[in-house]
């Protein structure tokens, strides 16, 4: 029989799970706590026993996605291979959360500053893996040497352009499933040193 503590943790998890589904449909600004409570089958007031405010719930949804994504990337990139493998692992992690990631990317500018902090923290973890892998390839002389922030931001910007506009690049589907490999190949072509 579940203890009270376990029941509380399960309810919190259920609220988060339903909140995430609603955010995918309605966005971070358009999701209401009343709808989260209804979807989770709890009284509206119960939401606030677990999250002090709607903003706190929304921030937890974003932070949980970041935690899951970076933890997964950490596991996938643990082999310490080259940049291609690190970027492929990054693509895979984003694709696994593509709908929610897209929402955070699009809604980000209109959200409170705490969301940007969480966003930058998440990208910081991604940068750790991408740049460590790039260093290996730069050391081996296979890709060009460049400022780490430009190498990382160029990749991110390319990815984000396709994600933000995914309705025209991949209507109704995953833009990373349909375009991810092409973006990865293109980016690496730009970075690869010509052998003379």
């Amino acid at each position: 029989m579940a203890t009270r503590r376990e029941q509380k943790a399960a309810t919190r998890q259920r609220l988060l799970s339903h909140a995430e589904q609603l955010v995918v449909r309605h966005g971070f600004t358009g999701t209401r706590t009343l709808d989260v409570a209804r979807a989770a089958g709890v009284a509206h007031g119960s939401v606030f026993l677990h999250f002090p405010s709607r903003e706190d719930l929304m921030l937890t949804v974003a932070a949980e996605m970041g935690r899951k994504m970076t933890d997964r990337l950490h596991a996938l990139a643990a082999g310490g291979t080259g940049l291609r493998e690190a970027l492929a692992a990054h693509l895979r992690c984003v694709e696994e959360h593509e709908d929610l990631y897209h929402r955070l990317l699009v809604d980000g500018p209109s959200l409170p500053p705490e969301f940007r902090t969480a966003w930058l923290g998440m990208q910081s973890a991604v940068a750790t893996h991408v740049l460590a892998a790039a260093e290996v390839d730069i050391g081996a002389g296979t890709i060009r040497s460049m400022a780490p922030h430009l190498l990382f931001n160029t990749w991110l910007r390319l990815l984000h352009h396709y994600l933000v506009n995914r309705d025209v690049f991949a209507p109704g589907g995953s833009v990373l499933a349909s375009h991810g490999q092409e973006l990865l190949d293109h980016y690496l072509t730009l970075l690869t040193k010509e052998i003379r």
Binding site: R67, D71, A78, L120
Partner: protein, 82 residues
């Protein structure tokens, strides 16, 4: 705390002993936040290191990097009571 919570200081996931301070899996903070002898670095050292990392890897302005690092550290168990 669960293993999923990562470093209590900066949040970095830690899966191997080498990722813990001084290679000691019992240390709840990571190799970046711990000294060579395995002690947790001071807040200022961790803040400076994290801000420098944000500048180097994402190109943030010095002030923004320091503020972002401080905001992230404030959410971590090691520094949330500051």
């Amino acid at each position: 705390m669960t293993p999923d919570d990562g470093c209590i200081s900066c949040g970095m996931p830690m899966r191997t002993a080498q990722e813990h301070a001084a290679g000691d899996p019992d240390k709840p903070y990571c190799v970046h936040c711990g000294s060579e002898s395995g002690e947790l670095k001071s807040y200022d050292e961790v803040l400076g290191g994290f801000a420098g990392f944000l500048r180097r890897t994402q190109g943030l302005h010095e002030d923004a990097a320091r503020q972002t690092a401080a905001d992230i550290l404030a959410t971590r168990p090691a520094w949330s009571a500051r």
